[in-house]
Each structure stands twice: as structure tokens, then as C-alpha cells.
Symmetry: none
Subunit: 249 residues, 2 copies
């Protein structure tokens, strides 16, 4: 969903939603993922009026369109997809797992409008609603705990739609520098200082080559980045200076 | 996450959650995706008692463990991952996009416990909380509408963890051993000893909380394996003992 247009072609349709908090939360996740068109079929009137007029209600909630029937709410869409927590066996519709189904939706959004339907908290989508759907999406929930919270189901479906959009962005310079491993030279300076501190404290024998190698391997395994290696070197040198000052070496 | 064991190694840690509805919704999505271990750090007491004792509260909510500090809540975990809606530029931590980060978490869950931290609805995770994290996950929300509803963020992260069924590939023995990160508890012991050595040498002021957090983040970035963490702890404690012996502390 790279372009603004594609995102703009999705209609999120909530059918007979009762809890205004769920409508608000669904709207919020739409904003989070860049979708703009919320449609409500027969919402529980009092609740919806309350949600819409709440202080801080999102623009998206205020501009939500209200319909009497599913048929009207999906009239401009080339594809109508229902969502369900029910297993495929009990349904007369084709059911696609979310990851697969979302990729089909994404493709169609490149040129056509798509409706994504969510049923009420209590009953989900009824047979009458389902009859408007080309196929159904199922979020892969556990057999024993299938039914999801409505707003969470909306959030997960929308996340899956935009999931593949974000190629890792080029990072700022500062960040890139921090990720660079310290050079072998920097690691060796750190190794030397650490060995000297361990010798000065009596942990390592001065003559122990095996001890030095052990420390060298340890530092290589830790693989500090440049900044961290620099910081650690400063710390270890300070400790070494203190050890020598107090022991009068 | 095919096996029961892997799913069982994740700890979902909610830090200073205020709204009991969010705790309940987070617990519900954990059940949806098969996760069992919910931990709460300093939840808003009255709200949590209410949520836990509500009729129909899930077994998962009833068995949730309550901790006073993040440190205690993640002590048995080899990897601690924070979640954020903030962009990478403003943070001192490595930030990974959710899809990538979740795949790393999945791999580690094959053998070790992992904590996934979520901050409070108002403030998110604070710097003190973040200093316990190895890195952060970011859900790819829109620049202008970054902040997600807490329970929706939990649901999306858990969905991403179970989304792929790719079984973890068998690893060589050497590689497996190297991958065994030290637990958060072991890393914290190392942090404490290192901080004390730096204080004793005069590098750090005793009162500096920022200094302690800096060291904690540094150790988390180095991500020593269990053996190396143990070795380093022995070394640092020896140096500390010597510093104190010679300065007469």
C-alpha cells in the first residue's frame, strides 16, 4: 500500500457495533495505519452519538458515514471481505488466513475499492451480512479462544495490510556510526587496558599469555560498536589509573 | 512458534498500566494467540483489583503476577524487548520494525525466556524502564498518528509473533551455545558490579541515576552470553574488591 490512493480505497465497515469505545478504538487504529474511511451499519445509536460528540473524537470518527444496510455501505466496492473468528468448517464461505487474504486485498486496492466488514461484538457477522461478502478473513486465533475483541481485530487486520509497506529507511548518520563495530585496533586497545586492570588488581598474572588471549576473545565476542568501545576504554583506563594510584605502582 | 514450550516462554509485561479495561483486553488477546504469562509492574491498584475480580475475568488475568520493579519482572528473561511508538531518532536504543524484531524474538523463544514490555497509556516506557531493554520494537504507525491504544499494540505484537509458522531451524551446537544470552538477572548483577567499580574509582558519581542507566544500556547492547557474563562479573567484582581494599572504603 505504498501510495496514498491505495490506502484511500479501503472502507472499514463496522456492522451493528454496540460499544462506542470499540468504534473509537477502531477509528484510532485506522488513523495509526493511515486509513480514512469508516462506515457504520446500524450502530447502536445512543452509543455512537456519544462517541462521535466526545471531546477529542478523531476527525475520522466525525466524518464516519452511517448506513442502514450492508448493501448500501459496500455499494462502491469491487471486493467485499468479511472477518470471522469461526473455523472454516462451519461456514459456507471461502475462508482465507489473514496474511494471504490481506495480500489479495492489497493487490486489488491498487485499482479498486475494497470493503472490510466487522460484525457486532455479540454475534459477529450474520448470514445476511455474510451473503454480501466474496470471502472471509480469519485471524489465526487459538481453537479454544477464537473470539477477539472487535477493536483489536480491526487493528490487526489493518496492520497486516500495511505490514509490508515499510522498507527499512535509511538511517541518520549518527545512528549508523553507533551501529558500526569497533575496529580491530579499537578492540585491541580495550583488550590491553582491560588486561592491565586485571593484572593490577591481581586477577591475572602478569606473565599469563593464556589470560590475555582469554580477554581478547571475550572482547571480540562482545563485539562492541565504536562508541561503546571508546566509552569502555575510558572507563577501564580510569579504573586502571585509580588502581595504580592507590597501590602506588 | 509451533510448540507449546515456545509460546510458554514469553512474558508480557505491562508497566504502570492505569486502565483495567486495557489489562483485560491485553489478557484476552494473549489467550487468543496462546500466550499464558502476564506480568504487571506497579499497576494502578484499584483498577487492577477490579479487573481481576470481575465476573468472567480470564484465568490468565487471575494468575497474572504483580511486581514492584521492571528489574524483578524480567529477572528470568534472556532478552528484554521494549515497545515504542516513538521514532528511532529520539531514542538511545536500537529500534527494530515489528516484523523483523518479532522474528528475532521467535528464534530466541525456542530456548530462552523473553519479556515484551509495554508502557503506561500516558507516558509509555520511561528511560528507567528502557534501560532494562536490549532493544525496542516499533509498530509501523503513521508519523502523524503514532501512538497506539495499549491493548491494540499488545494484540498486534502477539499476532506478529504467531503469524509465521516457520519452524525454528536446527542450529549447530556451538552456535546454540553462543546464542544463549545471559538472563536479565545476570546482566543486572553485572551492571551493578560495574557501576560500583566505576563509583569506587571516581568515574561515576554515586548519586547519578543517569549514569547507572547509561551503564545498564551499555551492558544490554553488549549482550554477553551466560558464560561471558559470569566471567565478567567475577573480574569486575575482583577489581571492585581491590579498589575498596586499597582505598580503605
Amino acid at each position: 500500500l505504498r501510495t496514498r490512493d491505495n490506502v484511500d480505497r479501503l472502507r472499514v465497515v463496522l456492522v451493528r457495533t454496540r460499544n462506542p469505545l470499540n468504534i473509537g478504538a477502531a477509528a484510532r487504529s485506522m488513523s495509526n495505519f493511515g486509513f480514512a474511511h469508516l462506515r457504520l451499519v446500524n450502530p447502536y445509536e445512543a452509543g455512537f452519538r456519544e462517541a462521535r460528540s466526545a471531546v477529542g473524537a478523531s476527525g475520522l470518527l466525525v466524518s464516519a458515514e452511517v448506513y442502514r444496510t450492508v448493501s448500501e455501505a459496500v455499494a462502491d466496492c469491487a471486493l467485499v471481505v468479511g472477518t470471522t473468528s469461526v473455523g472454516p468448517r462451519q461456514l459456507q464461505h471461502p475462508v482465507k488466513p489473514l496474511a494471504l487474504g490481506a495480500s489479495l486485498v492489497r493487490k486489488l486496492l491498487a485499482s479498486r475499492c475494497v470493503a472490510l466488514l466487522f460484525g457486532s461484538e455479540k454475534t459477529g457477522l450474520r448470514n445476511e451480512d455474510l451473503s454480501h461478502c466474496h470471502w472471509l478473513l480469519r485471524i489465526p486465533t487459538q481453537e479454544q479462544h477464537r473470539s477477539m475483541n472487535l477493536a483489536q481485530a480491526v487493528a490487526i487486520c489493518l496492520y497486516e495490510l500495511v505490514r509490508n509497506d515499510n522498507p527499512p529507511r535509511p538511517r541518520g548518520k549518527a545512528r549508523a556510526a553507533r551501529m558500526e563495530f569497533a575496529t580491530a585496533g579499537a578492540q585491541e586497545r580495550l583488550t590491553t587496558a582491560f588486561v592491565e586492570a586485571l593484572q593490577s588488581s591481581g586477577y591475572l598474572k602478569t606473565s599469563s599469555a593464556a589470560g590475555q588471549q582469554k580477554i581478547r576473545r571475550l572482547i571480540r565476542r562482545l563485539a562492541p560498536n565504536s562508541d561503546d568501545a571508546e566509552t569502555l576504554l575510558g572507563m577501564v583506563r580510569h579504573i586502571l589509573w585509580k588502581l595504580r594510584a592507590t597501590t602506588g605502582e
